[in-house]
């Protein structure tokens, strides 16, 4: 057990009457990259806070490299990128990284981290004069500069555009190659799929799925087909192969599909009058609701 990177048992945390995390078991092996995937309010940040020792669980235990979180933090084993926005003012980026590096027993060189995070050109800029994407990169650099064994990233790409996200994950790949244990929270299945060895899905404070990206995708990867089809009968639509449920919104039908490809072929084959076809992945939020089931809410009452 002492060899686990992160080991959480029965973690539980409520804020007043609101349960945020309801009994989580999570074990992350050293060197593993794990994505914590879930919608807003799933309990991802609360879980991360407990792993970092920023929040004390109401019940359950958590250890990092076999130590309580605060000891692991003091030993310099953890680097984290938190969600909260700005970095402290009146320092240049270089000075800020130097400050953080000075607190760790064996930090990376500031120049190296600036290079890795693409901040070399901005090194002497004041922290108050950064765009959202730039300050996000600075916070990433802060989490790296101490050369921690465990890297925890709470929605590292939250405020970034598509290009920024690509840049971020490019730097991240270089870091992951160094054999660090990485835990990151995200809303995006694509990100989790592309960068994690393992995906842990959270919803409503519980882990609802835990496995390799391919397994998780099969579980939450439902798609919907929308199309204008005034003449299509709903009951008929429901019988199409691959369709899980069907709804009508005026002239539009919405088909929720387990196998959207099969459903689409069948739809096109049988009905000529269908137009404005749109296929999209179901929002994670909806997918999670499917996974968690509605019965549970009822059971709680």
């Amino acid at each position: 057990m002492a060899s686990a990177g992160v080991d959480a048992r029965g973690l539980t945390k409520s804020f007043g009457p609101l349960p945020a995390v309801r009994g989580i078991d999570l074990s992350i092996a050293p060197g593993e990259t794990v994505a914590l995937l879930g919608p807003n309010g799933a309990g991802k940040s609360t879980t991360i806070d407990m792993i970092l020792g920023l929040s004390r669980p109401d019940a359950g235990t958590v250890s990092v490299f076999g130590q309580p979180p605060d000891q692991a933090v003091r030993a310099g084993s953890i680097g984290a990128m938190l969600q909260t926005g700005a970095v402290v003012q009146y320092l240049s980026i270089r000075e800020l990284l130097h400050l953080v590096a000075s607190l760790y027993p064996h930090p990376l060189s500031v120049g190296e981290v600036l290079e890795l995070t693409g901040l070399s050109d901005l090194a002497d800029r004041q922290t108050t004069k950064l765009s959202g994407g730039q300050s996000q990169r600075v916070r990433f650099a802060i989490s790296l500069v101490g050369d921690p064994d465990l890297l925890v990233l709470d929605e590292p790409t939250a405020a970034l555009d598509v290009e920024g996200r690509h840049e971020f994950w490019d730097s991240m790949r270089a870091v992951a190659r160094q054999g660090k244990t990485v835990l990151f929270a995200t809303h995006y299945l694509e990100e989790a799929d592309a960068f994690a060895d393992r995906i842990v899905v959270m919803a409503k404070g519980r882990i609802v799925a835990d496995g390799a990206p391919s397994q998780i995708k099969a579980k939450v990867g439902t798609r919907t087909i929308r199309a204008t089809a005034p003449d299509l009968d709903l009951a008929e639509a429901r019988r199409l192969p691959g369709v899980a449920s069907a709804d009508r919104l005026g002239d539009q039908i919405v088909l929720t599909c387990a196998d959207a490809d099969a459903a689409l072929y069948a739809l096109l084959g049988s009905h000529a009058g269908i137009r404005d076809i749109e296929v999209r992945g179901a929002g994670l939020e909806e997918a999670f609701l499917e996974l968690t089931g509605h019965d549970e809410e009822g059971a709680l009452r």
């Binding site: 806070d49 920023l54 929040s55 933090v73 938190l82 909260t84 916070r139 101490g146």
Partner: protein
């Protein structure tokens, strides 16, 4: 791994924050000039008025300067910076040391500036008296140095303005920075339990008999210890996302 670098950057950040720097120091200085210039030739109990008033303003000025850092702490918390620091190996002790150093630096600058203002209005004190005044004032502001850190860890950034202003006014006024309020009686006895009373006594030690009795040390030590315990608790509890 050294908290010296951390402290150095704390000081640097404070000095670069010009508006904070200026506003933390300027008011006692202005008050001194406005009031003492007009009365520069007056005497009070055989003491020149500028000297008398200088000692009061040194107590007020060093107190304001040393607690002002609390506002910076509240802002650092609101930015999430304090949380970020807590997941580094920075110890509670090193965090407090750095904040105390910056607070004391501000107080020392305030002390020097108001003393220079006194000299510019013809205040005369023997070197030994200056030394005693400075030494005792630096002891007397200890509770306020810790109080600033406590308030910064307890209150939100947007309530710090009124909270600090009110606190400083309360202690400075009752302690006698602007002139003694009660010479005797129950109120005087109560006020003798305030740390600001002893700060004013420290500052005025050079111009009156009696020095700084044991009671002063006890009151200052007790308030400092109490604020330090509360400050540490506030810092340790202070992990929530703001």
């Amino acid at each position: 791994m050294s908290s010296l670098t951390y402290t150095r950057y704390e000081v640097l950040r404070m000095l670069r924050n010009r508006r904070f720097f200026i506003f933390s120091l300027i008011f006692p200085l202005v008050l001194f000039y406005v009031i003492a210039t007009e009365n520069r030739h007056a005497r009070l109990d055989g003491i020149s008025f500028p000297l008398y008033y200088m000692t009061g303003m040194i107590a007020f000025g060093t107190m304001s300067a040393v607690v002002a850092g609390g506002a910076r702490i509240a802002v650092e918390r609101s930015l999430g910076w304090t949380r970020q620091m807590r997941i580094t190996p920075l110890s509670v002790g090193a965090y407090f040391r750095a904040k105390l150093v910056t607070g004391y630096l501000m107080a020392a600058i305030s002390l020097v500036l108001i003393s220079l203002a006194g000299l510019s209005l013809g205040v005369h004190l023997a070197a030994a008296n200056w030394a005693v005044l400075a030494g005792l004032v630096l002891v007397g502001i200890a509770p306020f140095a810790v109080l600033g850190i406590l308030m910064g860890n307890l209150l939100s950034a947007d309530s710090m303005g009124p909270a600090l202003g009110g606190t400083v006014t309360f202690f400075a006024l009752l302690g006698g920075s602007f002139g003694q309020l009660f010479a005797s009686g129950v109120m005087h006895q109560v006020i003798e339990l305030l740390p600001s009373y002893w700060l004013v006594q420290a500052s005025s030690s050079a111009i009156r008999a009696g020095g700084w009795p044991v009671e002063g040390w006890i009151v200052v030590a007790a308030w400092t210890a109490a604020f330090a315990v509360l400050g540490r608790l506030a810092y340790q509890r202070n992990t929530a996302r703001v």
